[in-house]
């Protein structure tokens, strides 16, 4: 897939994080700003974006204190709001591209904000906490800058030919979730379907691994390729660790450093493109454009989203050179993450065997002598579980149908289990074959469903909405949305040019075959 026609120039995207509690007095307004992209925008312009947002938030919260403002649809721009933490807001301003009738799906954009914040929280803790530690905001700002820029670099796609001219500002495009990604759901995990026997083996493995942490409550996450196999974490933490693993830890993510140009698998046509983009770019970018918040000592800020920092060690555990030890060790210490579920600090270990990646978190409090204790736990895992691991890997590899395993011919679909934050979709290469019209219609349909869903959420939170929409697109494709008790199904049928009965028949067949009849009346 070539360059998307719906990619915005840097100038078209504005991204800011601000704190309503700060800068209450005239002349201190700049204090509010915790992050602004592009950083080279003059402060008055930055302030005007934030001022508008703040005003609207304050205004709307009069009517709806629980959920003030979600979006501003202006003529040229859409402002997407996300309240990350109490009084801490993230706002993304995207330009509307009227030429191609491209529409942003606001929920998809908000999910980007949500994701970056969740990941930030996982590695650095909450913004509010950092602000409390350092009221000047210097630490928060430097953390946010490195982190968000590293994150956005995942969206940055290089024009292949321009790569050599290292002018990142011109050659760089940000590729935000567009209509082409309407058969995708950010903030969900994709799971591997396993048979009962393999599932038991997996469970057995997980239990053995978690017993290695002794009496402490440990958690684990098991991935096969880029698909989740098992988790013992709560859904939010699962999503965060899963996202991080897919971005940086799975064999695909690791191999991207070797083969600089081949981005494989899901990255192919998706927004989630992981290329060998220069991480130095982000650093120099920040250095150039926000010298006030980027000083020499900030180089010690761990940048977990930096590219190419992870590699597989000799013992199968993944090692990185992101985190720097206090004592100046040559080896990088084990990263620490914050879990939302328990609000506990956990060491994160990752073990890889062929296509299998095991993430394992142990409470920091349970490890007495730091790195030494961690390596003892690692050794225990190697001793007890490595055999099981290779057995599981073998079993899963045998049962795996490859990258197109979940392709259902004739269908282009997205299936979401909102209760469990799981999604499954047609493989990106198959979605790419859809006509643009179909995708545009689907985006519109999804927007409608989003609105419907959020209404239901407020009206009766305990009751899931049932809905069924079939639309005949301009190009005679059927675009279908179904929602039943927490499960959503979106579908494009381009060859079903018959009646609506035919379309609903096709949905039922799909539902019976692949969803255990969940979408049956």
């Amino acid at each position: 897939m070539g360059l998307s026609s719906v990619s915005s120039n840097t100038e078209d995207l504005q991204f800011c994080v601000f704190d309503l509690k700060r800068g209450q007095y005239e002349g201190q307004e700049l204090d509010k700003i915790l992050f602004f992209y592009p950083a080279d925008l003059p402060f008055p312009s930055q302030l005007s974006v934030i001022g508008l947002s703040e005003g609207l938030i304050t205004f709307t919260s009069i009517f709806s204190p629980e959920a003030p403002c979600e979006v501003i649809e202006a003529e040229m721009h859409s402002h997407v709001f996300y309240q990350a933490e109490p009084d801490i807001w993230m706002v993304m301003v995207v330009e509307k591209n009227t030429e191609v009738q491209a529409v942003w799906r606001i929920d998809a954009l908000r999910n980007v904000l949500k994701e970056v914040h969740s990941l930030f929280m996982m590695f650095h803790g909450s913004i509010r906490l950092l602000l409390m530690k350092d009221p000047t905001g210097v630490i928060v700002r430097s953390h946010l800058y490195t982190f968000i820029l590293d994150y956005l670099s995942a969206f940055r796609k290089w024009r292949t030919l321009d790569f050599c001219c290292c002018d990142f500002l011109v050659g760089k495009k940000l590729h935000l979730p567009s209509f082409r990604d309407s058969l995708k759901e950010r903030g969900t995990v994709e799971m591997l379907t396993v048979g009962r026997e393999a599932a038991i083996e997996v469970q057995s493995l997980v239990r053995v691994v978690e017993s290695c942490g002794g009496n402490a409550q440990c958690y684990s996450l098991l991935l096969f390729q880029d698909l989740l196999v098992s988790t013992t974490l709560c859904p939010d933490d699962t999503i965060n660790l899963f996202t991080y693993a897919v971005l940086r830890l799975t064999p695909h993510a690791l191999s991207s450093r070797q083969s600089s140009w081949s981005y494989r698998g899901k990255g192919n046509s998706g927004s989630n493109i992981i290329t060998k983009s220069s991480t130095e770019a982000a650093a120099s970018f920040s250095e150039q454009h926000s010298p006030n918040s980027w000083s020499e000592d900030h180089r010690s800020i761990p940048r977990p989203l930096q590219h190419d920092k992870w590699s597989k060690g000799k013992d199968g555990f993944l090692v990185n050179d992101i985190w720097h030890g206090d004592s100046g060790n040559s080896t990088s210490p084990t990263p620490v993450v914050y879990l939302q579920q328990t609000e506990e600090r956990m060491y994160l270990c990752a073990y890889q065997h062929c296509s299998l990646t095991l993430l394992f978190v142990v409470p920091v409090s349970s490890i007495i002598n730091g790195e030494q204790g961690i390596s003892a736990v690692k050794q225990l895992i190697l001793d007890n579980a490595s055999l099981k691991m290779s057995k599981v890997e073998e079993k899963l590899s045998k049962g795996w149908g490859g990258e197109n395993a979940y392709h259902v011919s004739g269908y282009r679909y997205l299936l979401i289990d909102a209760d469990r934050n799981i999604s499954r979709a047609s493989p990106p290469s198959k979605v790419a074959t859809l006509a643009k019209d179909s995708l545009l219609f689907l985006t519109k349909l999804r927007k409608e469903v989003d609105i419907e869903k959020s209404r239901t959420r407020w009206d009766c939170p305990d009751h899931d909405r049932d809905l069924e929409i079939c639309i005949r697109a301009k190009n005679n494709a059927w675009v279908i949305a179904r929602a039943t008790r927490g499960k959503e199904l979106y579908m494009v049928l381009e060859n079903a040019n018959e009646t609506v009965l035919y379309a609903s028949d096709a949905v039922e067949k799909f539902s019976n075959r692949y969803c255990n009849g969940a979408f049956l009346d």
Binding site: V194, G195, R196, E197, A199, I200, E201, Q203, S204, R207, V208, S211, S230, T231, T232, L233, C234, P235, T238, N384, D419, R420, D462, H463, D466, T484, R485, G486, N516, G517, A518, L520, D521
Partner: protein, 752 residues
Amino acid sequence: MSAIASSSQPVVGLSSSGALSHAYIKYPPLRYNIPGSRGLFYDDGNKIIVSPTNNQVFSWKISPFTPAIAPTSDSLSEGPILSIKFSLDSKLIAIQRSNHEIQFQHLETGETFTQKCKSESESLLGFFWTDCLLCDIVFVKTSGLDLFAYNSELNMLHLVETRKLNVNWYVYTHESRLVLLASGMQCKAFTGFQLSSVGIIQLPKFEMVMAKSEANSKPILASEDVYIITVYGRIYCLQVDRVAMLLHSYRFYCDAVVQQGSLPIYSSKIAVSVVDNVLLVHQVDAKVVILYDIFLDSQSPISAPLPLLLRGLPRSTSMGSRSNDKNGENSEVNYLSDLEAIIYGDDWNFLIPDLICDVSNKILWKLHLDLEAIAASSSDMASVLDFLQRRKLEAYQAKHLCLATARTIILERRPLSLVARVIDVLVSSYANSLKTGNYFKGSRSEKRAASTALHENIPAAGDMASASRATIIGKSFEYEGAGLEGEYFQASASSGSDLEENGTMGYLRTDTNIDTGKVPIGTETKIIEVHPPSVQADYDGLRNNLSGTSVSRMQERQLTSPVISPDEMYSFVFCPVEEEMAGEPSYLVSIMIELLRSANSEKIKVHPNIYVLTVQLLARNEQFVELGLLIINKVLEPSREVALQLLESGRQNRQIRKLGLDMLRQLNLHHDYIVSLVQEGYYLEALRYTRKHKVVTVQPSLFLEAALSSKDPQHLAAVLRFFSDFLPGFSHTSDHKAYYHLLTEMTLAPVS
């Protein structure tokens, strides 16, 4: 573990000393003291001991071993007696009168006839009755074997077949149907014949290994140094090499004899017994016994050498009166103290497989294993359980020990890998017993007894498995084969008539000795034929530990084998353990997963109870994500029980409730699904579902009530309309009237 402690009570409580032992003999012994006795003969074909006097012959059944048994007597014509054996149908009695002649006497009529050797040059070494199809009795002579068939009409023997070869001495056990004929200068060249029901199998000639003490000396192998034993249905020969101080073992296949290895011996006098397929090597001089389980062909003993103990000896005189002996109390006490002194005495005569005859005291002991002590002596739980699972004789105790061990290791929170191995052992043993079909009690064993005749060729074919095949396929084959062999071998080891008799006798005895009235059926008794009822009494003691009907159910089952079904694992391991470990469900869930893994690899169905318990544990621990995964991946197989438990456990968690609902739907449990849907408030969806699946069992009032409670007149109207349209005659029911009335009230209310 309290269970262990109390279970040991019946065994240890009466013990003469607190000393440790793995094998023991138990007081009271069988006394065969008959005035005027002219010796004692062991008739292993009929499992009796025989003691003749001048004109009578007394015989005691030793299977089942009942110390208080009264002898049966038959009259006998006078004359010298070298050997005496009843025919397998107990109609004839054969008495070897000299080296040349054997006298036969018909027991009912008293008619006699004599069979003599043809030539004076050959002499008779002995004889044995056989259930071989060709012949009834075999004479072993220095010149070979003579096979005779008995003709009951003419009341005489006629020669069927002769096998010519030089024989120095021979050994035979009825259990193995194998006769080994020693020849040569050193008596170490052997020819073997198995006279099985399918015919006569001649084994290839083989030589036994004998070390030389000096260059010129040639030790001669004595018949006392060769034992034929049957372990797990396989036939072995053990040979004592006095010079090398080794006990060589040879295994017999139908076309080969393979030396298996050598066990060290520590005494110049050695005796061998087999109790419940465990090999006991008595180091008589050292007064210790070493136990081997040669199932896995391992040469290492089960445990350290320990003395043989006499247990159950009454300490007080009142206890002494328990024995049925008529002696005075004082002499009884003296006698008892004598008994203690004579362990491994010179007059002990070891009878294959598990009897000890004390010739001077004229008593017969039966050897027992102390499974509990053996289990306690090893720290390798998995191999201990493996050992226990192979025990047939004291199956209940073995089973009980297994369950107790399983509970203990879980309660002690042993590492998961260890518990997993233990579970693997139990499950694979269960799976194996399912395969060989000996798990099912009662009807099944009856069937097996009945079909013994059909399968009579199995022991021969199976046991004498071709050596080459066995070596190629290896242990797994042997394991599977062994179960079969063992079972069928035992079944066919006793002849048909004998089997019946055993059965009825066992029945009567158990009936009189066990006060509980829990009488095993006759065919089962056959299986525990070597079970002394006194052991049964121990079981009663054991049983008090557990309670209720489940135990009696278990007790019935124990009669065949100690295997533990996953179901029993649930009731006797997980349930009690779960109560005690209420605080940490996670560990227990891990063990359940191991059980499921093990069961799945053996393709065994697991009772939904286990799934239900897993759901409960996970829900209690609020591990909803894992629970979801287990359900979605069908690790916890869908069933109504599981679905209802999900609905129950998910009261606080909608996602879990949904999983339960989905499961009901996928199982096509329409009624449950619809009722649950309505309870969740999805009554409109439920209505659609009823229509689609034509479910008529759910009352309209359920839907109407749900719709009414929503306070939405549109919904109520929709539901009313639905039933009016699709349920014939609904508009005339009281439901319709009542809810229609309510609906009009509802719609009017906002207006007024």
